[in-house]
Structure formats: C-alpha cells, structure tokens
C-alpha cells in the first residue's frame, strides 16, 4: 500500500489582537468631556478711583491745578475725537495718552463723565491713566447735562 502523504497544514500563527474600535470610543468620550468642562481664561483688572468726599482738600491748598478730563456724551462715533475734552479742549485719545506719560505719577486728575456717555468711554480714560501709572484719579458729576434713562 502506498502511503499517502497527508499533508497536515498547521497554521500556527500567534496573533495578538487588540481591538481598537472600543478604545477610540473611550478616547472620544474623554475628549468631549474635557472640551465641555474647559473654561476660557479671562484676565480681569481693577482700576482704582476716588469719589468726592467731604474731606477733599480745597483746590486753593493744592498749588498745581488738577487736570480735568470731560467725557462727553455724544451719540455714535462720528465725533470720536471730540468725545474727550481736556481742560475744555477736545483731544484725541492718542494725544491724551502721550500727554499723560509726561505727567508726574501723583498728579491729580478729575474726570467728569456725562451722564449719557457709556461706561466704556470712562474705562478707556482710566486705562490710559493706568498705563501712565497715574493713581490720583477722582470722578465727579457733570450736572450740566440731564440724564436720560433707558425706556423700560
């Protein structure tokens, strides 16, 4: 009898499979979690001002007259250069910035804001003062203009 050679093919492949599809799902879930819980970092700053008090020294005792900046309440930005008046004269913001840097750090500034001017305009002036390291800032009322409240 002839011997039939039976070929036994044995596949002895040692495969180590790591199923990736589930791992990808987990990674996506973690990613979504960290995106949702992330908070944007917003840096805040504080701008110090002084309010008029009964103990305010009279100007006659102060040899150097204070610088008065008026924030006018103008609608729109068509007169952007005329929003700020320094000692009665309209000045552009760039001019104010340049001048402020030449003042002494303890110079007294009086800021008079119109009642209908937006708060953002006042903050711009305070920001320029902060840039020039001016700390003696006083805010007073502008009673010459009538305040028009929002219609409710």
């Amino acid at each position: 009898m002839s011997k039939r050679r039976t070929r036994k093919t044995r596949k002895t492949d040692d495969k180590v499979e790591v199923p990736m599809s589930s791992m990808i799902d987990v990674v996506f879930l973690l990613l979504i979690y960290f995106i949702v819980t992330q908070k944007p970092i917003i840096e805040d700053t504080l701008l110090d001002v002084n309010l008029p008090s009964p103990d305010t020294k009279s100007s006659s005792q102060n040899p150097v007259p204070p610088l008065t900046i008026d924030v006018m309440d103008l609608k729109g930005y068509e007169n952007a250069d005329k929003i700020y008046h320094v000692n009665g004269e309209p000045w552009a913001l760039s001019t104010i910035r340049t001048q402020m840097k030449s003042y002494d750090k303890d110079k007294t500034l009086v800021i008079r804001c119109g009642p209908n001017a937006t708060h953002g305009k006042l903050i711009k002036i305070l920001d320029l003062c902060s840039e020039a390291k001016l700390t003696n800032l006083n805010i007073i009322n502008d009673d010459s203009v009538k305040f028009v409240p929002y219609q409710q």
Partner: protein, 144 residues
Amino acid sequence: MAKKKKKVYDQDVAEIPIASMIDVVFLLIIFFVVTAAMEKDVIDQYVCLADAPHGKALETINPNSVIINLRKDGRIAVSDIIYTEEQLSNLIKTRAQEWYANDPTKMPIIVRGDKRVKHGYIRKVLDAITATELYGVKFMAVIE
C-alpha cells in the same frame, strides 16, 4: 473511504476585554461631574466688561469684597439678586460692619459695569456707595 479534511486552525488570539473598561470610564465621568464644586456666582453673565489692556492683571479677588454688577439696562445685581440703590447702601453698610468693623474704609468695593451702560446709572451706584461714607471704588475691566 471518504476523505476527511480536517482543518486545524491553531491561532492564539489574546483579547483584552474593553467593555468593562468603558463601564469604568463612564463611572469615573459621572463621579467627576457630580462632585464638581459649584463656584459661588459672583460674576454676572449679563455684564459685558469694557477693555483695559494696560491694567494690572488681577490674581485673586478678596472674598470679603462687595462686587456690584451693573447691567446694560441699569439694573444693579449682587450675587444675582437685583437691588435698588437704597438696598445696595444697606447691603454695603451691613457687610462693612460685619467684615471690617475696625476700619470699614478698607472694604474693597468692586463695580462691574457693563461697557454699554450709561454713566448716569454708574453715578447712582456711586452715590449709593458714598451714602455709606465709603469713598474708594474699583472698576473692573478685562485685559485682552
């Protein structure tokens, strides 16, 4: 005789069971979500602060400070509660007596005014503050 074909596959597949790991991840996520500390809401979401790029960055806010939010429509809010000017004055007086009994002038008062609000409303808040005989105020702005 019928031939029998016997196929023998001898594969060693090592599988890591992922299903349990996903359950653990979900549990962890639910744990962190539930135990996340809710911060005290002193920042009013209705207030859009003005820009002050040259200001000094604020590191921490004194927890014993009064933060007054002034919204665009002129409403005064402290910790999400709307106040009138008189109520605001009373609140400031109460907190100054409670936290700074020795020297009330040291109590920080922070005004977070919306950049679009009219200065007349800011003036009302400032008048409410000066009614308590406190004359130092800080305006909060955003550094960009």
